[in-house]
């Protein structure tokens, strides 16, 4: 195992860091800060040489697995390639070094990018107004629900419940609870879609919203979406679109046209900006016109003369959900992505995503169980149920995939399918990669017959073998503590 940098530390070792003289204060901390902010004990920092620092972090970086190193078909996460041109452009100091407190007249370019990207997302989603304030997808869900709550409150009653499908992303019930709503689960039917009869039973005037993703987490398009939207609106409830699976319908059909009132996008999924570890996420939300006045402030707007400005004049706004205007550089990356693709490219993106998923499914479907025999879109769910007698679970197949050089897909989700693998290849993978992954899965299926222990003990090629997840979950160690010896 790699040592922690603290474990490499030896007293007196130093690294030279070149710093411009004018950036260093000649004063001591206690001359600059009130005494309560001055630390009593010396900070415990590792003492290492420059070469050790370089080796340490280079070695750690080589242990990492990401889209840049491996195929990463994590279902519902849309792990598509993040084009390097976006990184290149955002490193320009004209973008990188601007400050949110710059006066509007010096930030026109940045405001234009926010304004234009919002207008693209509005067009893609069929919504009337988009804000970039939420910091990530789940935050976008919460913000949407707060907007929905504000809407109902303005109508005299905030209402009590939010309905989510039993196949929903875990963030849906979590966001609902955080927004102060009771979570009600609607069943899926035998086709893996929302059971409309059950939904009708659950509907009443206390329902504030229904949250759906379409296609759902099984990768199946909710064919009754219009019926569901009508049912929601009949009771005065609003319909929220969880944008996790937007990649499947990009440029083809718009949530706004399906009857959704709010949507949260995940720029780090659909619009090729990095996921969490690679820089902050971004979870913009879009709403229909009747909800615009409740959105967080400020709105980026355009004056008649063409100048962009920040409009705080929305007295019914839910306020701010985050400092400033969103993760600007992430929005910029999404903007670059959209500009490179253009309308035609966006239209082809969803086709590629759906084609790749269905091609892959076709290559492996003889060796795995298909819980729903429906038309899949950008992702699909297969089960390893038939291998249960051999003692093999989805987890074992996932771990064995690592030996083949692939990041495992999502497993054990959605919760309504047992022993499942949820696979989303995305459009950015070549046919050769899809085929190699299918070969790996089919070959693993053969291994189950010949030598199931090979799977149970996997992975074999990683720096550490099968991790004890129970122990890890129960003995959470989040920081290094120096042990004296």
């Amino acid at each position: 195992m790699t040592k922690l940098i603290y474990e490499l530390s030896r007293p007196g070792k130093r690294t030279y860091i070149p710093v411009k003289k004018e950036n260093i204060s000649s004063k001591f901390p206690h001359e600059l800060l009130p005494s309560k902010f001055i630390r009593k004990k010396k900070a415990y920092l590792p003492e290492v040489s420059e070469l050790e620092v370089v080796r340490h972090f280079t070695n750690i970086s080589q242990l990492n697995v990401g889209v840049d190193t491996n195929f990463y078909p994590l279902g519902s996460c849309t792990m598509k390639y993040n084009p390097k041109i976006s990184e290149y452009i955002t490193q320009d100091s004209q973008f990188k070094d601007i400050h949110p407190y710059y006066p509007e007249k010096f930030s026109q370019g940045a405001l234009e990018i926010l304004y234009e990207t919002a207008s693209y997302l509005e067009k893609i989603s069929g919504m009337d107004k988009v804000t970039f304030q939420p910091a990530a997808g789940a935050h976008g869900e919460l913000t949407s629900l707060l907007v929905i709550r504000a809407y109902h409150t303005a109508n005299g009653n905030p209402r009590k419940k939010v309905i989510v499908p039993d196949s929903a992303h875990g963030t849906n019930p979590a966001s609902s609870a955080l927004a102060g709503y009771e979570v009600i689960e609607v069943r899926s039917n035998e086709k893996g879609m929302v059971d409309c009869d059950h939904l009708r039973e659950l509907m009443d005037e206390d329902v504030a919203a229904i949250m759906l993703t379409n296609p759902n987490t099984l990768g199946i398009f909710e064919q009754n979406i219009k019926k569901i939207a009508d049912l929601a609106h009949e009771y005065g409830a609003l319909l929220h679109y969880d944008g996790a699976n937007l990649n499947a319908i990009l440029g083809r059909v718009r949530p706004g046209d399906m009857g959704f009132d709010t949507i949260q996008f995940n720029l780090h999924k659909t619009f090729a900006t990095p996921h969490g570890g690679g820089g902050p996420g971004s979870g913009p939300i879009g709403v229909k016109s009747h909800l615009v006045k409740f959105l967080p402030v400020p709105h980026v707007e355009k004056k008649k003369g063409g100048a962009y400005f920040l409009n705080y004049d929305y007295p019914e706004s839910i306020g701010k959900v985050r400092a400033f205007y969103g993760n600007f550089l992430v929005v910029l990356k999404a903007y670059i992505y959209l500009r490179i693709l253009g309308e035609r490219g966006i239209f082809e993106t969803s086709a590629g995503a759906v084609l790749n998923a269905n091609y892959l499914l076709g290559l492996i479907k003889d060796k795995f169980d298909l819980p729903y025999n429906e038309r899949y879109m950008h992702e699909f769910v297969v089960s390893t149920k038939r291998y249960k007698d051999k003692g093999i679970k989805a987890l074992d197949v996932a771990k064995r995939l690592i030996d083949y050089g692939f990041h495992p897909p999502t497993i054990y989700f959605p919760l309504i399918v047992k022993e499942d693998l949820m696979i989303e290849p995305t459009e950015t993978e070549d046919r050769e990669v899809i085929e190699a992954f299918a070969d790996a899965l089919n070959s693993i299926a053969e291994e189950i017959d010949k030598d199931p222990d090979l799977l149970k003990e996997a992975p074999h090629v990683t720096p550490v073998g099968r991790l004890d997840e129970v122990w890890a979950a129960k003995h959470l160690i989040l920081r290094y503590e120096k042990t004296e010896n």
Partner: protein, 129 residues
Amino acid sequence: MELRDGLLYSKEHEWLKVEGDEGICGVTDYAQDSLGDVVYAELPEVGKKIKQMEPFMVLESVKATSDVYAPVSGEIIEVNEKLQDSPELVNSDPYGEGWLVKIKLENKDELNNLMDKEAYAKFLEEEEK
């Protein structure tokens, strides 16, 4: 999958052992196997009133967090404190040391909504199809 005589079973895979007007409740072997390794049991408070077929506590496994449904209505009169430190007992001994709560039954007629061993075995077969 192990099933035991003398227990009543619910469709949500809880078992209930009735003793007088009290019942000991746990999850079945099938449930613990589907849950995977349990890492945390969020036990209810003693005195909590519960309603048949409504969630009353949560088991968290390495795979997911799952509701446990009340097999009968009543009041929680005891919880298995051992699970605080050793939630894995739910996996290793679901019908014994891994019991969850003791319930004071409110309405014995509700027991008719539960299954005996044979009926539950049949129910599991259907589930597995």
